[in-house]
Structures are given as structure tokens and as C-alpha cells.
Symmetry: C2
Subunit: 538 residues, 2 copies
């Protein structure tokens, strides 16, 4: 049978091009040439300036030897230069590898080597760790120093950022991806165990994530986005591109500081920000303590843990509007949003906290999000109780792990991306994560979620942080053991915490042991439960 006549109509230059977030900067520069694209403490760039500078830097990078597909690593604070690199590097045809500014020198060196970084753009405020990281490397990347004022003018660097940029020619065509499946960036996970893995993003996924995030978070041309989230973290959950896509304004924030956030929010009439729970909690507590009230509602998207009802109450007083979302490095940041339902308006704060505690539903480009039975992969019933692994598929999941086919295949086995998170599905279809698979505690044949126990502990007024892990037990197999950090100046006891837990938890879930002290963390602030488990064994 001959192909249907409409199937004979082929792609042409006029009706097909590779999707890329880079085209969205070009569009915004065309529409809003004199609108502020990015406001840094040192200067403001309009959209035309940002686009022109990005094209110029792309040209300069090519001139110093960056070829299509090469890796350009960037170690910077949340500055205008950092945002600019999200455009200039892929516009040179290269792959952007942003680095966590809190990484130690060894890990940095590992990543630079593993990612084959050809160029390293770094802030002079981080020169000490860069010097250590480069020490002993046979093939050093070409160094480019950004003088943001955070450090002395770079002595280590071969190039100064501004000087290099000026050498470029903004009239040069920027390099469009040959294929939208081409890599745009490389983001290393901060695995709590083992070496970090290099997660590769493609242009198509970055484009779709940008549009999806802008829509899901209610953004428009009047959006003013404050960078409380590190841009190095999953490319700032793709908001580096999303805010540009809709022609909003980026407000830089080199360091997370409550007073700076308050000042900038007021001064620039910020409408949106994102961050980890620790940032949200700090902000809300500090704003509350200082009596700050925002004069217009600010939307805050928190990822990583659900906001507590006390947090929600305070947030409302301050005029923060909280959205809970969920994602992983592998999913370009956000892949699920706890999408608001209008009938939640009448709920009490506690009820609402219960709703918002869920990770929710898939973002626009996630085709399917399933809690899969660990045995056969079938969807678990939506009973809010039966646990399974959260798996998903769609167009905003990574290309794979760099140079790690085994890990890539494992992550995508059976046609789904496996998050490694244990979750339940509620009657309304919203998923709620109960634990990491490896953090689940099995006591007397019953699964229990370490998160559930930690959530109870966090509600105790004296508890600053808590982590619950399994401890081997002759009788029960495993029993929960709690590591707790207390708030400064406050005190409690094991007995009091046990009694407190018994008010909310089945008795078998109440930790048998409590250990007080500081908790070990990764460079991104994740508690290292593997270290805690190890400490119990030794």
C-alpha cells in the first residue's frame, strides 16, 4: 500500500527546526530589547544586551577552541555571568556543565576529568578550591575567571571573562543544534553514595521543561524571578531558560541571605522564587521574626520535602504562596507539581498541609507517572497506603548517564525511568513519596517509612533536624533509630521524644534509639543516611 498522501509531506527548513531554549532568548531579545533580562548587584542587562553578550561569548569560546559537543564547566555563584553561560555555552555548540559551588576539590577534579571539561569558567571567589582541583590534572581545562567581586582578580586563569567576551563577534551566527536530541548540559548528581553521575540533558527536553515550568508555575511577561535556587542545580530547575522564555526578569542573588532576599523582593517587586525546604524555612522564620510582610503575594515553589502546616500558616501571614513540587536531576528538576485544586480553598491549614504534602501529578511533558508494584511493575491501587516505586516516562527525562551504560539501562529498565523513591497514590491520583527505597525500614515484616517518622519528629518544638535509619535487631530484623539535632538553646530527652512520637505513630514505628548531635550532609545539604547507617554498624 502506498503511503497516504499526507505522509509524503516531508520536513523542510521552513517548517521544521530543532527545539531549543536558545531560540526563546532570541525571541525575547526581539520582543523586549530594552526590558531588564537580568539584574545583578553590579549591573543590569536588557534582553538585547544579554542576547548580544551571549552570542559574543559563544563566538569567543569557539575562537579559543571550543568545538561542537565539547564540555564547558562553570563554577559560579548566582550571577549574571552564570545566567549568561546558560546561553553562551550551548550557543557555541558546547555542553554546559555547571558545578556545585560547595563541592570539595577532589570531587571537582573527578567531575572535570569525567566530563572532559575543555574550559572551566569560575568565579574568583572560588579560586582556592579551583586551584586545588586543577592540581595534578594532566589535561587542565582552559581557565576563565569571572570577577564578580567575590574574590581577588583571578591569577590562576588564562582568560578574564570580560576580556574574552570582548574578543568575540556578536555578528557570528550562533550554533544551532543539529538535532534537538543533542546534549545541552551535563549535571552531576550529588549521590549520597559513590561518585557523582553525569546526567545529560538535551535541547528538546530543556525547551519542553522551560515551557512546562513556566506554565505550571503561572509565569508571564510580568514575572520577576529571584534566584534563591542555585542555578547550578539542574540548571536552576530550567528556570534559567523558562523565565527568559516568557520575557520575565531574573534577579540574581549570589548568596542566600534573608535580608538581601527581603530587600530585593521589595525593590524589584519579585513575583516568583524557588528553593529547597531549608531555604523556605529559613526565610519564613526570619521574615516572621523580623515582622516582614510582603506587599504583594510571592509564589514560592519548594522542592524536596513537603511544607509543614506551621510553615504554611506563617507563609500565609507573610504573603508567600507555597507550591510543592518534586523532581530529580534526571528529570531536569521538576517533574511533578502538587497542582492546586479549587476545592482546597475551604480546607483548614492542617488539612491543606496534608494535601500539599503530596508530590502531586506529572508536569506537562511527563506522559505518565506511576507508582509501580515492586514485583510486577503494575500500578498500585490509589488507596493512599500501598507503596511502590515512583516511575515515569516522557520527554523531560535525561538522555542518560555519561559514560555509564549500565546505570543508564538500570534507570530506564522496562521502559520507565525509575526514581528510586517509594510512594503511594491517593484517591485523587496525587502521589506522595514515603521514602527512598534504600531508606525504608522493615521491622517484623512491616515496611515503615523513615520520612513518616521524621515528619513527626520535625513537629516537636525543640527539633531542628531529624534522620531516621534502620538499626539491625535480633528480634525484629530492623528497628528505627533516630538521629536528632536540637534547636539552639532548646532541650528535650529520649523519653519525651518517645512519648511525643507515640501520640502520632503506631508503637512499632516509634524509634527505639535516639542519638543527639549534628548530622552529616552532602554538598547540596542532603543528610547522608548511609553515613548514619555505617556509624550504627561500627
Amino acid at each position: 500500500m502506498a503511503a497516504a498522501p499526507h505522509a509524503q509531506l516531508q520536513k523542510r527548513p521552513g517548517n521544521y527546526s530543532a527545539l531549543s531554549p536558545l531560540t526563546l532568548l532570541q525571541r525575547s531579545a526581539y520582543i523586549y530589547p530594552s526590558k531588564p533580562a537580568v539584574i545583578d548587584d553590579r549591573y543590569t542587562l536588557t534582553y538585547l544586551q544579554l542576547f548580544t553578550r551571549a552570542k559574543r561569548m559563544a563566538s569567543a569560546l569557539r575562537d579559543v577552541g571550543v568545538n561542537k559537543g565539547d564540555t564547558v564547566a562553570v563554577l559560579c555563584f548566582n550571577t549574571a555571568e552564570m545566567l549568561e553561560c546558560h546561553y553562551s555555552v550551548p550557543m557555541a555548540g558546547a555542553v554546559l556543565n555547571t558545578l556545585n559551588i560547595r563541592l570539595d576539590a577532589n570531587t571537582l577534579q573527578y567531575i572535570l576529568k569525567h566530563g572532559d571539561a575543555k574550559v572551566l569558567i569560575y568565579d574568583t571567589g572560588l579560586e582556592a578550591v579551583v586551584e586545588q582541583a586543577l592540581d595534578g590534572m594532566d589535561q587542565r581545562p582552559l581557565t576563565v575567571a569571572v570577577d564578580s567581586g567575590a574574590g581577588e582578580p583571578g591569577k590562576l586563569a588564562v582568560h578574564r571573562y570580560e576580556t574574552l567576551l570582548e574578543q568575540g563577534n556578536a555578528q557570528d551566527d550562533w550554533v544551532r543544534p543539529d538535532d534537538e536530541w543533542d546534549a545541552i548540559s551535563l549535571n552531576y548528581t550529588s549521590g549520597t553514595t559513590g561518585q557523582p553521575k553525569g546526567v545529560v540533558y538535551h535541547h528538546r527536553g530543556a525547551y519542553l521543561s522551560s515551557l512546562g515550568n513556566a506554565m505550571a508555575f503561572g509565569m508571564g511577561p510580568d514575572t520577576v524571578y529571584l534566584w534563591t535556587l542555585p542555578m547550578f542545580h539542574c540548571n536552576g530547575w530550567c528556570y534559567t531558560w523558562a523565565v527568559t522564555a516568557i520575557g520575565g526578569t531574573h534577579i540574581c542573588l549570589p548568596k542566600v541571605d534573608t535580608d538581601a532576599i527581603h530587600t530585593k523582593t521589595t525593590q524589584h517587586r519579585v513575583t516568583h522564587m524557588c528553593g529547597a525546604p531549608i531555604v523556605l524555612n529559613m526565610l519564613i522564620n526570619d521574615f516572621h521574626a523580623k515582622g516582614h510582610v510582603l506587599d504583594q503575594a510571592v509564589r514560592f515553589a519548594v522542592g524536596g520535602a513537603a511544607p509543614h502546616s506551621a510553615t504554611l500558616d506563617r507563609a500565609r501571614t507573610i504573603n508567600f504562596d507555597i507550591t510543592h513540587l518534586y523532581g530529580l536531576t534526571e528529570s531536569y528538576g521538576p517533574s511533578a507539581f502538587c497542582v492546586w485544586q479549587n476545592d482546597w480553598q475551604t480546607l483548614s491549614t492542617d488539612q491543606l498541609a496534608g494535601k500539599l504534602a503530596r508530590q502531586g501529578v506529572g508536569l506537562f511533558a511527563i506522559d505518565d507517572l506511576r507508582v509501580a508494584n515492586m514485583d510486577d511493575g503494575a500500578a498500585v491501587p490509589p488507596d493512599g497506603h500501598t507503596m511502590g516505586e515512583l516511575v515515569m516516562r516522557g520527554n523531560t527525562l535525561m538522555k542518560g548517564y555519561l559514560k555509564d551504560p549500565a546505570a543508564t539501562s538500570a534507570a530506564f529498565k522496562d521502559g520507565w525511568f525509575h526514581t528510586g523513591d517509594l510512594a503511594v497514590v491517593h484517591a485523587d491520583g496525587y502521589v506522595e513519596i514515603k521514602d527512598r527505597i534504600k531508606d525504608i525500614i522493615i521491622s517484623g515484616g512491616e515496611n515503615m517509612s523513615s520520612h513518616e517518622i521524621e515528619n513527626v519528629l520535625y513537629r516537636h518544638p525543640a527539633v531542628l533536624e531529624a534522620a531516621v535509619v534502620a538499626r539491625q535487631d535480633e528480634k525484629w530484623g530492623e528497628v528505627p533509630c533516630a538521629f536528632v539535632t536540637l534547636k539552639e538553646g532548646l532541650d528535650t530527652s529520649e523519653d519525651e521524644l518517645i512519648a511525643f512520637c507515640r501520640e502520632s505513630l503506631s508503637h512499632f514505628k516509634v524509634p527505639r534509639h535516639f542519638i543527639f548531635g549534628d548530622l552529616p550532609k552532602t554538598s547540596t545539604g542532603k543528610i547522608q543516611k548511609n553515613v548514619l547507617r555505617q556509624s550504627l554498624k561500627s
Copy 2:
């Protein structure tokens, strides 16, 4: 050279799927199962119901012999069934061919034959013309009658819509496109000359248009969209899919009627609507005359001609917020938006009308929009004066014309889609269309825009409609000739109109001849200038 390691990461079922607006219905049905998706005078469907019915009808269509790539034609008013067909037909793997309800039987027959329609779903209110259209066809499509109440129960039809739908199985998997480049719909142009051309849309373009239109028009989950635009027209400018994508509510409107629009807008708290200038003008005049004021702002996107300052003034009083956009059947409807700039807030109504008269800038998925010099294709200077052809490229331009490779190649020559519209570019980069290329008048070697002259005539209080075409002239080559329809009960004269035109136009642009009377129109309401030109020759 070996491919870079990141280039070795291949597409997998978990991280790649064909983009399609159909997945967005699935998503909204998951998130908003009990939210009204579509409200018809006869019934309301929730998102879950719409999705379930669409899957069931898709299954039923396959059972009656619809195969992948087959054409299913639909001739319906703006009803729930019509919206449903935008999902059920492509979910059966078929190509949706919506037909203009004002077409004559001959043209309908031409389209049914040319498009190889295998099934025709029609409203019984249109049975008479369907009967004529099918008369004499060797291979008749299978007929399915929708009893919307507009006509008698269909006698002609082999199937009743509801009965057929009930035969389907909603548990059957719906057919996902093998490739996002696969056809999703077929829309015939209402060319002012010759036979209509079949414009083929693909799933990728429909998906990107949907997201882009939702974003550009400021839509979110609280959007309530009233169907003042025919859904048969470029699939309702893709709002059939866009409103669903963001989980808004569709309000059906079988016939454009001011009172119905006022009632529904108030009753359902409508936020957005679209339409041709004739609809906007009618609405605003009627609302104004009846003293209707909307109790919340309603955004109205008008495509096809710029709103006049008098219209804008009245619109503001009524609480309509007007957006001007531009598109063609070939560009999935809207391809340019007159994007609002904040510094327009302080403009006078006349100045604002001047800004809004422009077609603006490209939509998100339009990579480039250029006014190309007719000689060499280079971009004309942004001087608001130099004319050229508006051309564009991007991912929301048709696959091509069905069974017409010559017209397809011509439309896409030199790597751009050619709109056939003459335009200028203003200093801010916004394009303004001056005329169709074939409607331009060349007098004494000077190009003049028939639109410019018509716009002046439209400002005269007695003029209802005006069309200006070239008339052959021995001395000047061509001179402008005006065809004018006067408003009921009002009068004017050739001399008065000449004097009126001279106040605003260079003398050589003032029409030499005026002919009063009704204007010939196509089925979509476009004035047929070719008929007027012909009448001058004979």
C-alpha cells in the same frame, strides 16, 4: 573521530515519545477528573467524561473500519461533539478534517473527494447540504449524524453519533502517533480564487501551537473559554487543544448571537474568547447599545484585521481587553501576536490603536518572522515604510498542501513559508501587514495599499464595509476604485467620500471611482476582491 560520549545516549521508550496534544487531554483528565471540561447547552462533560467518551468513540471508529491515516470529516456547529471529535478522531489514528458549515454542496463534495474522507460526522441541522454534497459521489463516506437539536433526527446517516459511541470500548488503548510528524488534521483554505487547498497539520505542531497559544494569551487552569470562534476554523486556532492543555473550561456556542454571548459570559464567568473582526465589532456595538458591561475583564483575541480606536474605546467601557493576532490556515491559526508592552499604558486611545494595528511578533514556536524584500529576500529596514512579503519559519507551519507538491514547494520556497501578505516592519520590530500581494495597487509606479485606503473609508460614519481594488487606467496604469456598502438608514455621496479621504490620504491614493452596493463574500466572510476586479473588466 568517535562520537562524543553524550552523543551515544539513544532515545528510549522512557525518555522519548511523540509530542501530541492528545496527551494533554489525558493529563487534564487525570488531574481534573470532575472539573467541567466542556459546557454545552444540553449537557456538561467533566474532563474524565470527555476523555472517556473520546477513547470510546476512537474505539468505535476503528471498529467501523477507520484505519491509521484515514480521513474523518466533521461538519458540525460549535458543540460538545465537535470538540470531542478533536480528540476521538486522532485517538483513532485518523486525520480530522473539520468542514466550514457555510460551504455550498459542490465545495463540500470537492473536499470530501479530495481529502478521501472515509467517514463524515455531521450535525442533523446541516443534513440538507450534506445530502446534496453526497449526491452523485461514487464512494460515499460512512455517515454519522449528531443530533444536537438543530435539525430532525438524521435519516441520511448510517450511524447515530451517540449510538456509535456507545458501541466503542473506552478500555481500548487509543492510538498514539508513530511519529510526531504524523498528520493530525486537514483544514481546507477558503481561497478567494480557485479550489480550496488541503492544509495538513501534524501532532508536533498542534502540541506546540497549543502550548504557545495558551501562554501568549495568558491562560491558566481558571480559564473559561467561550467558543465565539468556529472550531472548524484552523481547529479553532488550536484552542480546541490549548484550553484542554491548561485544564480550563470550554463553553460551547453553536451560533454567534450577542445575547447568548452576554448570558454565557456572565453565567460561566468567561475569561477568554477569540474571533474575527466582524464578531468583535458586532459584540461591542451590541453590548454598547444595550448597555451591557462585563463584571470581570474578558480577553478577546481578534485575528484578521486591526481593531479601530473607536472599537478600542468602546471595548474598554464594556470591559473587553483586546489582543490583536495574525495567522493563516497554514500556520495553525495564530503565528503572530501583537504582544503588549508596558509602556503602552500611558498612550492615548488613538496612539494605542496605532500600536495594536500591527500584527506584531512571532509566536513561541515561530523561529523567525521576516519582511522580505521582493527582489532578493533580504529583510527590509525597520522603517515602518518599506514593504516586502511577510515570510516565516518554525515548527508551527503546515506539513504542506495535500496532493499539491507544486503549491507546497512554492509556499516554502527558499526555506521560508511565504504568507502572500505585504508588510512593513516598525522601529520596534513589530510587523504590520499592508495588503495581500495580489491586492496591491500600482499607480504611476507607486505602490499603494488597498487596506490603507479601506481603513480610512471604514472611519466614515456612514460606511459599513469597503473594498478597494485596482482599476486599469490608461495614464496611471492602475487607479484605486472603491466598492462601498453603507449602513442601514445612512447616506453619503462620492464627493463627500472623496473629500473625507483627502483629509487623511495623499491625493493619488484617493479612489477615483466609487461603487455602492453589497460586497461578494466567501463562505468564511472574506470579501472576494477577485470578483470585484472581474466586475470592473466586464
